[in-house]
């Protein structure tokens, strides 16, 4: 059991900058992988975790090269091997399961061929044996109808199925070590839980060692025996999974765990200041110095070594780790939000809204005649109170962003009305809305790289709404811009910068500032934290909450991340296939999920805690279209009662704790079923 399969020794990898400087993105990394264990490597984007994983297969991306150190696979250095030798190891001894299987499967080759290729390369089986093996493998990864699956092309499968094919392909060569590079990122919550469950099963079944690389501590917590935490190209903490997650003794890991929103906790997570340094910008001292609240002068000048602490069986790169040893009960705390006034007036009402997704072009929205009998979004009724944060949650295809767009006037509704302030009907055509209504409703997008014009400076970006709505110019304009930047905690000097010169978190702050520039009543937030790193996400969430408390803004918050929604929202609406399933106050929906879909969704969430296992109640089938009749969830519902679910749209029921659900089963009965 203690046999080491692969060990990395003092590995540094870097590249040459344009100015001829050598910049390292991995620095002095050493670790061992033992037979049969699963090691989780966790870190934010840019921490060097993927580079490390690829190096462990002897693969260095173009433009990078090893500076020093070695990657020993059973005493042979992979970095010194010829490509001929590597071909014998890759796929046979060490196999890779890639991040985005949709892009990692060759588009012109059938699934069967791609698995067969691995078998031909790495086994001595003949044709019939291989064919048998292919269906065996497809069966093992629990793909439906393995016989026909082999004859399909990658693009014909759903994301989860593609990922399973990648797993089957990796298993074909019976490797000793499996490398998984963010294998569940980008999948829906329920699919992710299923794939993870499959991986865990395979690890146990085959006894293969695994290296699981991810930014998601939730996923890492579910699979790993040991965890390696990377920061700015270094290992900062390494040890048994339980120890790392429950008693993190490195300030970065500690802060990271605190900044992750958790399902079990109401209120906002604590945030960490700043962001990870760029490669090459670290000179001397600890790379975490800027963001650390334990930092001393010593940390600024000297960089700590990885120190082994016998008692905890942990390696840590910190001078002051002792201060954290007894603080770990603090991990389960959060910042409480100021509760909003439940007596407030309704500011926005959605009444029987249906939206059909015909592709919209810029000028010809008027020409589109919509005659869809089975619209993407149907019968949405939500009343939004002034000053509250209402969240729309659901998996991809649930129509949550579509609803947001139609509130903003970017998509025409097919039926129903959107009423704003005193029941005034908002035109579903953007051009027909009056300027004040346009000002009152603002949008923040998921990806600031796309939502900020790359050719404009921050000053130009922020001056647009100020000029448009308030006709500001000259000194006054400038003063307002500086005020806005201050509001989102950015200095005045950011004005002359272009978006590409900002970090992800800074960009999103600019986007937030732009929305607030209009002094809006309602802000529509479309997955605003999804593109951000965890440690930055918490800061943006706190900023949004602070601004709301100061200015009394109403948020409509769309997200697929249930924990984030739990942290920020006052009320939640759960959507499936464009239909409402459940709506109610956050604390109740999360504590007593009534609708079967809410139950499935919440059960699949991965918490950064090895003691909380996901519950897999429903199949992870992907449905292309909402069903024409009956309940929207009929296809996957674990509590389906019969024909009535297929034929009749379920009625609304209101439970005693204030949740409203749409289900044919009595709400109290549902509650007792879940006990």
């Amino acid at each position: 059991m203690n046999e080491i399969i692969e060990s990395v020794k003092n590995l540094s990898i870097g590249f040459n900058s344009q100015k001829g400087k050598q910049i390292s993105i991995l620095r002095n990394v050493s670790t061992n992988i033992k037979k049969g264990e699963t090691v989780g490597i966790v870190g934010e984007s840019g921490s060097g975790k993927s580079t490390l994983a690829l190096a462990m297969m002897g693969y260095i991306k173009q433009g990078l090269f090893p500076l020093k150190g070695e990657c020993l696979f059973k005493s042979d250095d992979l970095l010194k091997m010829s490509s001929r030798q590597l071909e014998k190891i890759r796929g046979r001894k060490i196999a890779m399961i890639p991040q985005n299987a949709g892009q990692a499967l060759t588009p012109n080759l059938k699934i069967g061929y791609q698995i067969d290729e691995a078998l031909r390369l790495h086994t001595d089986l003949n044709k019939t044996e291989r064919d048998k093996k292919i269906s065996e493998l497809l069966n093992k990864v629990r793909l439906p109808s393995p016989e026909t699956m082999a004859f399909r092309y990658p693009h014909e499968l759903s994301g989860g199925q593609q990922q399973r094919v990648a797993v089957a392909m990796a298993l074909a060569g019976k490797p000793d070590l499996l490398l998984l590079d963010e294998p569940t990122t980008g999948l829906d919550v329920t699919t992710q839980a299923h794939v993870l469950e499959l991986l865990r099963f395979i690890a146990k079944d085959t006894g293969t060692s695994m290296i699981y690389v991810s930014h998601d501590l939730g996923a890492i917590a579910q699979v790993s025996d040991r965890i390696v935490v990377m920061y700015a190209g270094e290992i900062v903490l390494e040890g048994p999974a339980r120890k790392i997650l429950k008693e993190p003794i490195h300030p970065y890991t500690y802060g990271l765990l605190k900044s992750i929103p958790k399902l079990s906790l109401a209120g906002l997570p604590a945030s960490m200041p700043g962001s990870q340094p760029q490669p090459g910008s670290i000179n001397e001292g600890c790379s975490f110095y800027d963001r650390c609240n334990l930092a001393t002068d010593n940390c600024k000048k000297n960089s700590p070594d990885l120190e082994h602490i016998k008692k905890l069986d942990t390696n840590v790169r910190c001078f002051n780790y002792k201060e954290l040893i007894n603080q770990n009960n603090n991990l389960q705390t959060s910042i409480t939000k100021k509760s909003n006034n439940s007596e407030a007036n309704e500011v926005l009402k959605l009444k029987d809204v249906s939206i059909s997704y015909a592709k919209q072009k810029f000028f010809d929205q008027l020409l589109n005649k919509i005659s869809d009998q089975n619209p993407t979004v149907k019968d949405i009724n939500i009343d939004i109170k002034k000053g509250e944060t209402i969240a729309l949650v659901g998996e991809s295809g649930s129509g949550k962003s579509t609803i947001l767009k139609s509130i903003a006037g970017l998509l025409k509704t097919k039926d129903g009305q959107i009423k704003f302030e005193n029941d005034r009907i908002l035109s579903s055509d953007l051009k027909m809305r009056n300027p004040n209504d346009l000002r009152a409703i603002q949008l923040i997008f998921q990806n600031p790289d796309e939502s900020l014009n790359p050719n404009h400076t921050v000053e130009q970006i922020l001056s647009q709404p100020l000029k448009l709505y308030f006709n500001l110019s000259g000194e006054e304009l400038k003063k307002n811009i500086i005020d806005l930047l201050k509001k989102v905690r950015l200095g005045e000097f950011y004005m002359s910068r272009y978006p590409r010169q900002l970090s992800g978190g800074e960009k999103q702050r600019v986007a937030v500032a732009r929305a607030f520039a209009a002094k809006p009543d309602i802000i529509l937030c479309d997955e605003v934290t999804s593109a951000l790193d965890v440690s930055v996400q918490a800061a943006v969430l706190n900023l949004l909450q602070q601004l709301k408390e100061d200015l009394g803004t109403t948020y409509v918050f769309v997200s697929h991340d249930l924990a984030v929604v739990r942290a920020i929202s006052d009320r939640v609406a759960v959507l499936y296939q464009g239909r409402l399933c459940e709506i109610g106050p956050s604390q109740n929906v999360y504590k007593f999920p009534s609708h079967p879909y809410t139950e499935v969704l919440l059960g699949a969430v991965l918490e950064p805690d090895p003691d909380i296992k996901p519950k897999l109640v429903a199949e992870d089938i992907v449905e292309e279209k909402p069903p024409e009749k009956g309940c929207s969830f009929q296809g996957r519902c674990p509590r389906k009662i019969g024909d009535i679910c297929n034929s009749k749209v379920p009625p609304w029921q209101i439970g005693e704790n204030g949740n409203a659900i749409r289900c044919h089963i009595n709400i109290e009965e549902l509650a007792s079923l879940q006990q």
Partner: protein, 297 residues
Amino acid sequence: MENNLITEDIQKNKLEKAFEILKTMASKPSGLIGLTIVLFHVVLALISPYIAPYDYKAISPNTMLLAPSAEHWFGTDSLGRDVFTRTILGGRTALTVTFFGSLIALLWGGLLGIFCGLVGGKIDDVVMRVVDAFLSIPWILAMLLIVSLLGTSTEVLIPALGFFYGKGIVRVARAATHDVIAKDFIVSARARGHSNMSIIWNEIIPNVRDAILVEGAMRWSWMLLGFSSLSFLGFGVSPPTPDWGLMISNARGLMSFAYWSVIAPIVGLSSLIIGINLTADAFAKALGIDRSTKAPV
């Protein structure tokens, strides 16, 4: 993602930015060579009338088909005219016509392309059908027809060339606009309620400008190729105006014993086209656009 270079915290204004692009272009040998050649030709075109040693149209039976010598560096042609004089003057018409032709192409092609990209739908379909139809008539046939019916004056050539070479720019501008239009910053501007003109001016044009400019630079070299082909066929500038295409065409029949009168204009024309091409390539690279995937239509 991980080998991103460190973001440089340098603020630049427009002029500095243009200078920066020039510097990037000149940092590679091919770009430097291209820029030098183009600069050389432009300067030459400006000063050649003042430095030309002979009269370009002076015919002299005494000096017919002389080999290169100290008096006539590049020799003389079949009418006794000095080849050096005619060569250094031979690029002026070509440069002027194609430069203004490219501007016209850039203007109408760019605007129509952006318009189509914005409008989408039926109007876009119809316009692109017509553009496709124009593309499918070989340019040379159309140009020859126009020139033979309307004459070879620059007033005819510039707009005609501008029109035919603008078709390709329409496609590029349209595709670039299509890409930009889907971006969230456009959606954001629309949702804020900016007018269409303001969106086009502030959000779209700055983001499609580079692609269109690169395409325009490329068109310039192709237009030069097309224009000199016309001259060569006898449908470009009219004699005795010195023009490389025409000179090659005239000297071609006698090149078995007077190769110099054909080599000089060939070198002149080829170097200019290569120079413009290298410059356009370097320009595209400096702006981060890959131009090798485009067909020369």
